[in-house]
Structure formats: structure tokens, C-alpha cells
Symmetry: D2
Subunit: 178 residues, 4 copies
């Protein structure tokens, strides 16, 4: 088993999201490839974290610090990110705004997965988050997966669309060697 | 006095932010030009709004609904937005994610003002938020003001840098006719 | 007939492009609505314009100046833009880089139409070009039309997909009042 | 000496550009670190390449093919990119549009350097080009260098500003290990 620990971030705090199911799929595939994974789901965040874990409260919210610790323990991260209002969820950026500055994501290797009910697969949102992660000196893998029309192609934890299956398999393979 | 009501949004929930002071400056200038303004500061949001006002809770948080009502009452909006981690604050997008979908910002006319301690004046963040606002069918004025090195140029509620003063004056003039 | 003249820009220099056909569709619809249109196709540019019309040669290439004159005569512009390598064609930006600086597009009202063989409809490219046009103080309408899978939905100069027809009709209606 | 060959791309076809001087600086520093470099300057492109090397002419322009060969020989690329109209030069995207599709840049490792006379250092343009390069499966290093106010800080082939010197030194060090 590899020493690299890989975090899978569910980029929303919505309950019962398809992004959470897609994250489980990635976790399963990456575990099968011999890597340790940990899932970081934003719906477990303290509900007032946008106030209680940022600015003068940075570092003081112990429930938020559990998330920080999980991030710190990972060398690589997969972000599974639904499309809200044409971009990534605000709660994901608020989470990043709450992390210890400026080194929390520096030099980590990151893969991006967009999820949407519409056709775009969060293409524009992945562009935006890439800018944020690059600003923080993370290295984002070029190959971004955009899973549009997710409800048609993903059911009961599996992809019915072989194009999506193949893309994800390719992305994971390259990411594990990245 | 014009019938157009203009909202000035302070795009962060940080206390004592320079964005709030810049918002006051815009409010003063726009009021002097004969328009009614209202300030919408994200630091007044209910602290758990990312959970209590989104998804299945949409429309159910009365404190959040006060913000919705203020937005609904305005035909034009000025967003004053600090740069956090190379883009706009997550809390601002979370706020937008909580607004009534999909018409809350449609056809509103919007001016963007970026604020940063560094040189960029949130140039990249204004690009990102423009995508979100455009997605929601708002019309964003092309002229975006980027107030970099804000601490050097803005003190006691006024701009010491005449370049910034002139840019803002020009932006407000065009915006009121937009 | 309105006094407003509307230019339709074909955002590629490729021969026989679908963007050119989509531009014809827009031209027809806008003419029918009572507005004068002119088509500006980048394939008519002098072949060496990237060298002969930029920098120290700015303003000296008379064939390029015909394009400048056409732009100058329009108050509104529709950009029909294919997706090349995940964004807008380089030749379109080179064309903009050759226009008289900095006022050629200032205060013009602009509608964006993305065209692609894939699903995205140039969503990311429209985000990029919006930044360029906004930088030049043009006012870009929020509603951007993304015509993905164009070959399936557009044949013999007409849209077979009623969703696309309705979106375009809506976009044109709003644009003419913008 | 390392087997890795590193191309330095001057992202404009303007004569006597500061980007070309900055590219020379990078070439010197990277050569001193024991790596072979090759400079690829867009001003050497055939003047009609936007027509003679794209679409049905792809692969047929032997002068353009020399550029393709140079790109193919490099495992890593540094893009030195001036800011034109708030983004990267159109001629750079046109160059990419002319490269063999779709593998010319895939899996190459890329560092971005923005250059501008204004304060932004092409921050927005680097965001745009990152999207294009990522779309083509290149891996862009997170740390992007933005050299604003270039004329104040760079003279006679050297940086007078120690902040810029240190940033570049750090970027090159990380890039050579990337």
C-alpha cells in the first residue's frame, strides 16, 4: 500500500447530494488501487463555521480544526464539486477561507471533478476553483473531469455511461502517478 | 430624487473591514447624486445561514429573508468585494446560493468594486463573480474598479490617491446612467 | 427601422464554419426585428494581419481598417464564437488586439453566443472573452447563449431544437432592448 | 546535465518586447541550473500563419512545423506572457490553435510568467491560459509569477526589485523539481 494519503472532498454541505455519491465512487476506486483515502464532507462542518472559524476566530473552532487536521494529513486531494449558480458552491470557498493561511494547500496535488444536473459539468466552476487553488500554490492536474447530466449517467453508486467510466479511470490512473 | 434604489453590498462578513468603509464611500457619493441607497452587509447574516437558509431550508430563515427583501427592492447593486485567497469571499457566493432561485438577480444592473491589500485589487475574483452574476442574468457593467494596495490609498473614509478618486467618480457616473 | 446598427461578428477565420451559419441566423432574426445589421467575418481579414496590423503597424493596414470602420459604425455587437481548445479562437483576440486602442469597443453593448461540437457551447471561452470585453469597457449582456452539440441541433440554417430556438429568441429580444 | 529539455516561449510577436528580455533571463537562470533550454519566440512565426497553418492547412506549413518540432522536443515549458487588453495575446492562442491536435501539450509541465506595464502582471490572462493548457491536458504549476510594473523593476536584463528576483528564483527551483 502506498504511503500517500488521498483526501476526497465533497464540495457541498447539501444532504444526500450526488457529489457525495460520486465521492464514494472515487474513494472506492482509489482504495482498490492501493491507496489510503479519507472523505471530507462539508456537510459535517459546524453550522456557524463561516463566522466561528474565520478571521479573528481562525484556529479557535475545534470542530473545524478536525477538518484542518484531515487536510494536513493528505498529500493529494480530489475535489468533487457540484455546480451551483454556474460555479462552485460558496460553502467550499468559505471552507478554504477558513483553513490555516497560507500553507494549508501548498504543494498538494489536486484533481478536480465537476458534477451538474445540466450539461456543463461545472466547467466554469472548475476554472474558478483552479485559480484559487493555484493561488495557494497547490498543483492542480490539467485533466479536469466534467460530469454533466449526472442523473442520467450515475445511479446506485455506479456510472451507466461508459464514456464517464473511462474518463474517470483515466483521470485516477494519471492522478495516482501525478 | 430618482426612483431607482441602489443596494451597496459589503461582500464579506469580517468585522471592521475596509470593504465596509469603501461601501460607505460609495453610498455617500451615490446619495449625493440623488439616488436612494441601502447597505447590505454580510456580517449581519445569521451565523448558520450556510445551513439554515439553503437547500431544503431555502426561504425558511426569516433573518435571511430580510436580506432577500432588501435585494428585491433594488434595481441596481454595487458589490464591494475584498480579495480572499485570490478570489472573492466564499461567504458572498454562499449568500448568492441562498437567494431565491433563479430570478433574484435577473436583469439587475451591477457594478463591481474589488478591494485588496495586495496589488491586484481582486482582478481575478471580479472575473469569477462576473461569471456567476451573468449566469443569473444580471447585467454587469464592463468597467470594474480594482482598488489594490487599499491601505496606502484609503484612510478615514477618503481616498488619498486621486487616480482612485477619479476612477470611482467615473464608474459611479456611468453606472447611474447604465 | 431603428437607428441602432448591430454588427454580427463571426469569431473565426475558418472557412465554411458553423459559426458563420449561426451568424447568418442571428442577422436574419435581427433584421426581421427592424434593425440594420452588418456581418464582420474574420475569414476576410488580411492573412498576415497579426503582423501587418498590430504594434508599430497599428492603423497602417487599409484592409484591416475596413474592419475597424465597420466596428466603429455599430452601437451593438453580437459575437458568435466557436470553441477552440476549450476557449475562444486566438484569431478573435488577435483581431481585438489590432483594433484602435483603447476606445474601439468602449460602451458598446455586446451579446455572446458560444458554438461547439461538444457539450459545453464554449462556456469557458465566453467567460474569457467577457473579461477582455469588460476590460475594454464594453457592456456585455449577462445572458450568454451556449450552443453545444451544434451539429445535432442546427441544419440548413435553422435550429431543429426548440430549446435553442427559444433561448435565442429570448436573447435577441432582451438584447434589442439592452 | 539533466535530460529534461525546457522550452521558453515568448508569448508575443511584438518586436523588442520586454517579455523577450524576461524570457532570456529565465533561459539564463535555467541553463545555469544545468538544464538545456530552447527559446520559442512567436515573432519568428510565418506572418500569415493564422491562415496558412490552421484548419485545412494544419501540418502543411513547414516554417510553422519548425515550431511544432521545438515544442515536441521539450518536456517542460515556461510561458512568458505579456498582458494585452487584460488577457494574453491573441497570437499566443492562435499559435496553440495551430499545434497538432490534441496531444501537442498533453502531460507537459508548464510554468506561467505574466508581464505587464500596469500593476496586474497579467493575473487574469494567466487564469485564461491556464484553462486552455489544462484543457489540453498539460499540467500547469500552481505558482504563477505576475510581474507588474515591469519597466520599473527590470532593466538591462536584470531585476532591480529583490521581491521579483526571489519569487522567480523560488518559481524556477520548484519548477525544475515539478
Amino acid at each position: 500500500m502506498s504511503n500517500t494519503k488521498i483526501g476526497i472532498i465533497v464540495g457541498t454541505n447539501r444532504n444526500d447530494s450526488q457529489s457525495e455519491e460520486v465521492a464514494k465512487y472515487y474513494s472506492k476506486k482509489i482504495t482498490e488501487a492501493g491507496f489510503e483515502t479519507t472523505t471530507i464532507s462539508l456537510r459535517d462542518l459546524p453550522h456557524d463555521f463561516a463566522f466561528s472559524a474565520l478571521y479573528s476566530n481562525a484556529g479557535k473552532n475545534s470542530a473545524f480544526q478536525n477538518f484542518q487536521d484531515k487536510i494536513d494529513a493528505c498529500q493529494k486531494l480530489v475535489f468533487v464539486i457540484p455546480e451551483y449558480n454556474g460555479s462552485y458552491p460558496g460553502v467550499l470557498k468559505t471552507f478554504i477561507d477558513g483553513l490555516r493561511h497560507p500553507d494549508s494547500l501548498a504543494h498538494k496535488k489536486i484533481a478536480l471533478v465537476g458534477v451538474s444536473s445540466g450539461v456543463l459539468g461545472n466547467a466554469v466552476g472548475l476554472s474558478h476553483i483552479d485559480d484559487v487553488l493555484s493561488y495557494l500554490n497547490a498543483n492542480v492536474m490539467g485533466l479536469r473531469i466534467k460530469l454533466g447530466n449526472i442523473s442520467q449517467h450515475f445511479k446506485d453508486g455506479d456510472f451507466s455511461n461508459p464514456i464517464y467510466q473511462n474518463f474517470i479511470e483515466k483521470q485516477i490512473k494519471i492522478f495516482l502517478e501525478f
